[in-house]
């Protein structure tokens, strides 16, 4: 069913124009979702905030926004394609149910991602057809803008891939740096305590018996000449795949016989902390008894 005849008189409200398609509740849904996803409220100390639900919250509103901006809804009406308005309610309920578990969230994204990609491909194909001469494309593309549809379709596909990737980049990614940090403090403290047990001025450091690194981190422990000094480095060797590694950071540590722990936060695996990085902690003898 087409729009009321009175709209035809207003060029701004013609089929396919953004004002026509971005209206009412759909506009509200899209705008609220965008705002939720991108605003970062200045709430501190354990405030509520979106985390892993980001990609699930964003994927459908972005698809709707791009479909609207590309004039896709007008084409769907002209082609008499039935729209599934209830789908939004189903997706929100699904987010509620799957939001309690990252694995379930990923499974939901495996359903939503292809759905959005299909929409994007459809928009792009319509756009490609609409760019042909008028006598070579279907009647429902008579008023469509081929460039807009094509652009919106490609952007929709890219968006879907990016958001599904975002979800999968972080599922199960738990570097556990707190336990690593305790281990580093313990190793350095043991080195200092054992060296202090020796005669003053004759301290000799030895290779540590404890490993500092786990599966996510790598380590290096170097003794200076005669064991009179040491350098310990621990750095991440696994990060979420590109480009999602730029969303998160992991600490990269440096310690030596001064007992000072230095740390930088890095995005890429293999980045080692330099010896002149900021000091963030000084190891104490009691750190040798740290609980693991």
């Amino acid at each position: 069913m087409g729009p009321p005849m009175t709209r035809a008189a207003d060029p701004a409200l013609r089929e396919g124009s953004p004002r026509y398609v971005l209206r009412g509740a759909r506009l509200l849904f899209i705008v609220v979702s965008m705002w939720l996803a991108w605003t970062s409220p200045a709430w501190a100390n354990q405030p509520p905030g979106p985390q892993m639900l980001l990609s699930e919250i964003l994927i459908l509103p972005l698809m709707m926004l791009l479909t609207a901006l590309g004039g896709g809804y007008a084409v769907m009406r002209a082609a008499n394609i039935k729209r599934r308005r209830w789908l939004i309610a189903v997706v929100v309920v699904a987010i509620l149910l799957t939001g309690i578990n990252e694995g379930l969230s990923a499974m939901l994204m495996l359903v939503l991602g292809p759905y959005v990609i299909v929409r994007g491909v459809r928009l792009a194909l319509w756009g490609a057809r609409a760019r042909r001469p008028p006598d070579q494309h279907p009647a429902y593309l008579a008023n469509a803008s081929g460039g807009r549809l094509l652009t919106a379709g490609l952007l929709t596909c890219l968006t879907a891939v990016a958001l599904v990737g975002l979800n999968f980049a972080f599922v199960g990614w738990w570097p556990g740096e707190y336990y690593l940090e305790q281990r580093i403090k313990q190793v350095v403290a043991l080195e200092l305590v054992n060296a202090n047990k020796q005669q003053a001025g004759d301290a000799v450091y030895q290779l540590p018996e404890l490993r500092m690194a786990g599966t996510v981190y790598d380590q290096e422990f170097k003794l200076g000449p005669g064991g009179k000094s040491f350098q310990a480095r621990v750095w991440p060797k696994r990060m979420p795949f590109f480009p999602y590694n730029y969303l998160v950071t992991l600490p990269s540590f440096y310690a030596d016989q001064t007992g000072q722990l230095r740390m930088i936060r890095v995005h890429k695996p293999g980045q080692r902390c330099p010896p002149n990085a900021p000091v963030y902690y000084r190891v104490h003898p009691e750190d040798a008894q740290a609980q693991q």
Binding site: Q46, P48, G49, Q51, I57, W86, I100, L261
Partner: protein
Amino acid sequence: MRAAPRVHPTTLVAAAILTPLILRLAGIVPAVRFTRERIAVTVHADYIEVDGLYVYTNPLPFPLPQGLRVPFPTDALHPAPASVEVTEVEPLSQKDSEPIAVRWVWGEPYFSIRVPAFGAKHVRVRFTQYSPQMSATYLLTTTQPWGKPLDQGEYVLRPRGVRIVTSNYPLDGQGCLCFTRRYFMPDRDWRFTWVLQ
């Protein structure tokens, strides 16, 4: 004359139901209530150890996920911790039950919890902050975004080889360097200083 835009009634109903749901899901409007906290700060010569126990309750008849983050008061003399430990806590024994995954997103640690229907979740957050200038701050005003005061807040200082010199909240608890507040909506953060004993 322009006709009013036509909106399908189903869309309106869906938007009316879904918008508040999305607001809560995204955590902008807190889905759960932040009702209680017990903060113990062990003060050493050049660093503090913060052990915070936080209680979140769910007034709704279905379980709710809630994303949370942990910012720190940092400046040149108070660098951010390298890591935080977050664990679930058994409500009765107050012992740690299982660790919660923490991810540092855009420089701050984030984690998520699931609060059972009509239930509560007890969460412990631990971190160490270097404080070589013998002063520290614990953020209290961050209760304000939750919109409701804490039912109860307990705040304890445990000096280790140091003497507490100042605290902008009077340490008027009995038998401890502590204070307790009921129906507490903090208007300032907790600052304290110390000297070596």
